[in-house]
Amino acid sequence: MAQVPGGGEEGGGGGRHKKKRAKKGNTHIDMTPMVDLAFLLLTFFILTTTMYKPSTLQLTFPVPPEDDQPKELDKVNNALTLFLTSKDQILYYRDAYKPGETQLSRTNFKDVEKMLIELNKPTIERINSYAKQLNEKKITELAFDSLKNEAQKQKEALFVIIKPEKDAKFRNMIDIVDEMDISGIGKYAVQDTIKPEEQLLIDAEKLKF
């Protein structure tokens, strides 16, 4: 019959030792399986966890004018017009559009950063010098922000107009807006108005690749 160990002895009664003696057995438990389990769980959770860190990119559009016709932005000096086309290609021209003279150049998303930094050098240098002052605690963060804004509004700062084509991908637009932040360009606009004469140039350039 199954009995609880020790119960039988009590049931017999009249044992010599009435006091129950605690067993002096070894209290050490082998913890190896427990450690195995714990680390197994730990490894499982670490390996199955994917870090999901969404961030956001602020984009501000100019308030559309009251009349229906979207106004073409004035291309003062230092303007750069970028066309985002299919196959991750970028076509661009500098300054204002001059009929007959304007030629498109081609670049891609890898090289565009270098080009933007090169074109925006005076502004970047200015921002870097402010950043140095900020690091040396000569100016406050607030002052840095306003100085940076000021530098980005200067006349020599690059002004970029981004015109994604219809068959461009959304990723292309995010990438280029991101490049604006990286290369310290404060003046940029995303527009979807590609003029017919610009479209002709794009189509001609596309035939080459």
């Binding site: 450690v35 714990a38 961030s55 956001t56 308030v63 559309p64 068959d167 637009m173 807006v177 991101d178």
Partner: protein, 210 residues
């Protein structure tokens, strides 16, 4: 030569601190993990260097997936409940309390208004998922611009509950979505009734650069 004497003591270690540590870490990871809500569509957001965190409240998200379907989402449950009531009012369909509660607990919605009531009748997430996969998203063409209504209703209800403030707006687009589709949504944002000229675009944090 005499043999090298091996120590007789047993090699057992006291593993208690090790166990403590391991379980502490397990508990920590379990408690801090947040499960990503299962969504009916997959949106592979492009990556950027921006480190602005995504707001967790008062945020209206418009989602464009890679096939150009559009979804609407809002963070606050109270506003969601009011929005669905107003949408039911505008599109003339009836909703029970139960359906409203179910709607507030869901995430992004991409069902045309005419099918919303039937959709909210579905009990199991699996059934809803099937519908989600077959839906064409919220219509946003000129003839039937329900997306505009969703945005407008959200704005109206949010601002009436918060003293005239506008909700934050985020655009979550799949990197492979066509720009023309996204542009249509941006045009709706900029339209004369909703006038959203500042919005956030949700991206993944890019870590490999620098």
């Amino acid at each position: 030569m005499p043999k090298i004497k091996m120590p007789r003591s047993s090699p057992a270690l006291d593993m208690t601190p090790l166990v403590d540590l391991a379980f502490l870490l397990v508990t920590f990871f379990l408690l801090t993990a947040q499960f990503r809500p299962e969504e009916a569509f997959s949106v592979d957001t492009p990556s950027s260097m921006s480190q602005q965190p995504i707001p967790t409240e008062n945020l209206m998200t418009i989602i464009v997936d890679s096939t150009g379907r559009v979804f609407w989402d809002f963070t606050d449950k109270k506003v969601r409940a009011e929005v669905i009531k107003e949408m039911a009012n505008r599109y003339k369909f009836q909703l029970t309390e139960e359906q409203i509660v179910r709607f507030t607990n869901l995430n992004a919605i991409g069902i045309p208004a005419q099918q919303l009531s039937a959709y909210l009748d579905l009990d199991s997430p699996a059934e809803r998922k099937v519908v989600d996969q077959q839906t064409n998203g919220i219509p946003y063409d000129d003839a039937n611009n329900q997306l505009l209504d969703w945005i407008r209703v959200t704005q109206l209800i949010f601002s009436s509950g918060s003293g005239g403030k506008n909700p934050l707006v985020a655009l979550k687009g799949d990197g492979n979505a066509n720009y023309s589709t996204v542009n249509q949504v941006i045009r709706i944002f900029q339209g004369p009734t909703v006038k959203i000229n500042r919005f956030k675009m949700i991206t993944d944090l890019e870590e490999s650069r620098m």
